[in-house]
C-alpha cells in the first residue's frame, strides 16, 4: 500500500488539527485514497451496509430508550405507548425491529460472500474470526432486545434460551438462576437484559473498528482471489467504492422501507402482541427468522446436552473455517467442484431456517437431521477433502487482466512466451 498520496490539508484549521490529532489523515488514507481492487462486485458492498445498519439500530435504539420502561408491569404498555402516543414512535419502533432483520440479512449475505470467495483464507484469518465474534454479539444483542417488549414470545424465548444452559453438567442450574437473577425469568432478568442490550451494540462498534483495521492491514479480497500486484489492479476507494456502496445501500434502504411502511409486522410473531403470561406457554414458540437455522439444528438432536452443544458448535465452527479449508485457491470462481457444494450449503442453511419454523414432528425432523449432518459435514469433511482432490481452473495473472483484457494476458504472461508481445 505504498505510493498513494498523503493527506494535504487545505485549510489552516485542518493543518492545525492534523498536527495534534490526525483524524483527517486517517480518514483520507483509509476511505479516500485507500487502494481498492478494481474488480469488486456488489457482494462487497455489504460491509458498508452493515456499518450503516449498526448506526441505524443504535440511533433508533437510544431514542426508543427515552420512552421505554424496563419493568415487568410497565414494559409492554410502554412499548404500546411508543407506538400510539410518542411522536413518530411507531416509525422508530418499526425501524428498530425491521432494522434488526435487515441487519441480520446483510450479515448473512456478507458471510456467504466471504465463504464463496475465500475471504477467510490467509492472511485474513483474524479478520474472519473477528467477524464470527461480531455474529455472536449480534445474536446476543438481538435475543435480549426481543425480550424487552415483554410479550408472550419475549417471555418464553427468554425462558427457553436461558434454560439451554441447564444442559451444562454440574453447574447448569446455578448458571441458569444466576442468569435469571431469580427462580424464573422475571423482573431482574428484564432489567439486566435491558442494560446489556444497551451495552453490547457499543462493544460491537469496538469490534467493528478492529474488523476494519484487520481488513485494511490485509487489504480487501476480490472476486479473483489473487492479490493486487500493481497499481493497475486497484482504484481509489473514493469515489469508486464509495459510490458503489452508496448505491446498493440506497436499494437496501428501499427494502427496509418496504417492510417498515407496508408490512411492518410480517417478520414478527403475532403472539408477541399478547402481554407475557408466565402461566401459559404459546402453542408454537419460534424465535425470529434470523435464529431459525440454529433453532432447527438444536431441535434436530434428540439429546438435551448434545443438542445445545450442536447449537454452539454450529456457530463456533465458523471460526475454524480458515484451517478446515485446505484449498490453495482462494476464490470459488476458480473452484467448480467447491461451488456446487457451496450452493448446496446455502440451500441447506435456508432449508434449516424454514424447518426451524415448523413444528418438530414427522418428516420435518428427518429432513432437519439430514440437513444438520450436511451442515457439519460441509465444514468437517467436505472442505478439508476438497482442497486435496479438486481440480481448479487456471487463475488469471492479475486483477487488471481479468477485468480489462477479459482474461487475455496483458503484456508478457508468466512464464514469458518465446515471442515478444509488447
Amino acid at each position: 500500500m505504498s505510493g498513494h498520496p498523503t493527506y494535504q490539508p487545505q485549510s489552516a484549521f485542518m493543518r492545525w488539527m492534523e498536527r495534534r490529532l490526525p483524524i483527517g489523515g486517517l480518514i483520507y488514507s483509509s476511505f479516500v485514497v485507500y487502494p481498492t481492487p478494481r474488480n469488486l462486485n456488489y457482494w462487497w458492498t455489504f460491509g458498508g451496509i452493515l456499518t450503516f445498519m449498526l448506526g441505524v439500530q443504535i440511533v433508533t435504539g437510544v431514542v426508543l430508550a427515552m420512552h421505554y420502561t424496563p419493568q415487568v408491569d410497565f414494559a409492554f404498555d410502554s412499548v404500546e405507548q411508543i407506538m400510539r402516543d410518542v411522536n413518530y414512535g411507531w416509525l422508530l419502533r418499526y425501524l428498530h425491529s425491521n432494522g434488526a432483520s435487515m441487519f441480520f440479512l446483510a450479515a448473512y449475505i456478507h458471510m456467504f460472500r466471504g465463504m464463496y470467495y475465500g475471504s477467510y483464507k490467509e492472511p485474513r484469518e483474524v479478520l474472519w474470526i473477528l467477524g464470527v465474534i461480531l455474529l455472536l454479539l449480534m445474536i446476543m444483542t438481538g435475543f435480549m432486545g426481543y425480550v424487552l417488549p415483554w410479550g408472550q414470545m419475549s417471555f418464553w424465548a427468554a425462558t427457553v434460551i436461558t434454560n439451554l444452559f441447564s444442559a451444562i453438567p454440574l453447574l447448569g442450574e446455578s448458571i441458569v438462576s444466576w442468569l435469571w437473577g431469580g427462580f424464573a425469568v422475571g423482573n431482574p432478568t428484564l432489567n439486566r437484559f435491558y442494560s446489556l442490550h444497551y451495552l453490547l451494540p457499543f462493544v460491537i462498534v469496538g469490534v467493528v473498528v478492529l474488523h476494519i483495521w484487520a481488513l485494511h492491514v490485509a487489504g480487501q479480497n476480490n472476486p479473483t482471489g489473487i492479490e493486487p500486484k500493481s497499481e493497475d489492479d486497484t482504484v481509489a476507494f473514493t469515489p469508486y467504492a464509495t459510490i458503489k456502496d452508496s448505491f446498493l445501500l440506497a436499494v437496501f434502504c428501499i427494502l427496509l422501507a418496504w417492510f417498515v411502511f407496508y408490512i411492518p409486522n410480517f417478520l414478527g410473531h403475532p403472539d408477541n402482541y399478547i402481554p407475557a403470561n408466565p402461566a401459559v406457554t404459546p402453542m408454537h414458540i419460534v424465535p425470529e427468522w434470523y435464529y431459525l437455522p440454529f433453532y432447527a439444528i438444536l431441535r434436530a438432536i434428540p439429546n438435551k446436552l448434545l443438542g445445545v452443544m450442536a447449537l454452539g458448535a454450529s456457530i463456533l465452527i465458523l471460526a475454524f473455517l480458515p484451517w478446515l479449508d485446505t484449498s490453495k485457491v482462494r476464490s470459488g470462481r476458480y473452484r467448480p467442484l467447491y461451488r456446487q457444494f457451496f450452493w448446496v450449503f446455502v440451500i441447506v442453511c435456508v432449508g434449516l431456517g424454514w424447518l426451524g419454523s415448523k413444528p418438530p414432528e414427522g418428516n420435518y425432523v428427518l429432513i432437519a437431521r439430514i440437513f444438520t449432518v450436511y451442515y457439519f459435514a460441509f465444514f468437517l469433511v467436505i472442505l478439508p477433502m476438497l482442497g486435496k482432490v479438486e481440480r481448479t481452473k487456471p487463475l488469471p495473472n492479475s486483477i487488471a487482466e481479468s477485468v480489462l483484457a477479459e482474461g487475455k494476458p496483458i503484456g508478457a504472461p508468466a512464464p514469458p512466451p518465446t515471442g515478444a508481445k509488447a
Binding site: 427515552m66 400510539r84 402516543d85
Partner: protein, 172 residues
C-alpha cells in the same frame, strides 16, 4: 481535469449530494420530534375544573395542573384591601391587583405557586404581608402575589383560567 462546461459527473455529484442532504434533514425530523411531549402527556395536561364552594374564607388550597402547583386562595376582606391600597409605581414589578384577579371575583386569587427566582414553592400565609414567603432565598410576596422583597424579579405568574360559575373555575 477541469473543463469550462459542467460535466455529467458534476451534475450527478451535485444531484446525489442534494438528495442526500434532503434525506439527512428528513431523517432528523422524527428523531427530534419524538422528544416533544407525546399524546398522552398532552392529554394529561388538559384543563381541570376546581370547585370553589368548599374553600372557606381565608383558606388556600393547592392543585396541580401540567405538573405545576397552583394556589387557589379565598382572600379575606383585609387581604383584599391590603392588596388594593398600594402605590403600584413603587413595586419592583408594578401591577395593580385588579390585573391579577377576574372582574367581580376579587376574593379569588389563582396563582402559579412557583417562585420567579429559581423555582421553589413559596409558602402561603407567610411573611410580613401575610402573602407568600419563599424559604429558599427569602423572597417575599404580598396578598396579591406580587414580589415585594428578596431576589425574585417578577410577581407570581397567573395560569390561564376562567369562571364557569361563581363556585367553579376551569384552569387551563
Amino acid at each position: 481535469m477541469s473543463s469550462a462546461e459542467p460535466t455529467r459527473r458534476d451534475f450527478l455529484y451535485i444531484a446525489t449530494a442534494s438528495v442526500a442532504a434532503f434525506g439527512a434533514a428528513a431523517t432528523l425530523v422524527p428523531l427530534i420530534a419524538q422528544m416533544n411531549p407525546d399524546a398522552s402527556t398532552i392529554a394529561a395536561g388538559a384543563p381541570i375544573e376546581v370547585d370553589l364552594a368548599p374553600i372557606a374564607d381565608g383558606q388556600v388550597i393547592k392543585v396541580f395542573w401540567r405538573g405545576k402547583p397552583i394556589y387557589v386562595n379565598h382572600r379575606t376582606k383585609k387581604q383584599i384591601e391590603e392588596a388594593q391600597n398600594v402605590d403600584v409605581a413603587k413595586l419592583p414589578d408594578p401591577q395593580p391587583d385588579s390585573a391579577r384577579v377576574k372582574p367581580g371575583h376579587d376574593q379569588w386569587q389563582v396563582l402559579i405557586g412557583i417562585c420567579t427566582h429559581l423555582g421553589c414553592i413559596p409558602i402561603a400565609h407567610q411573611g410580613p404581608y401575610d402573602g407568600y414567603f419563599c424559604p429558599c432565598h427569602g423572597s417575599v410576596y404580598d396578598t396579591s402575589g406580587r414580589i415585594r422583597q428578596g431576589p425574585a424579579p417578577l410577581n407570581l405568574a397567573l395560569p390561564p383560567y376562567e369562571f364557569l360559575s361563581d363556585t367553579k373555575i376551569r384552569i387551563g
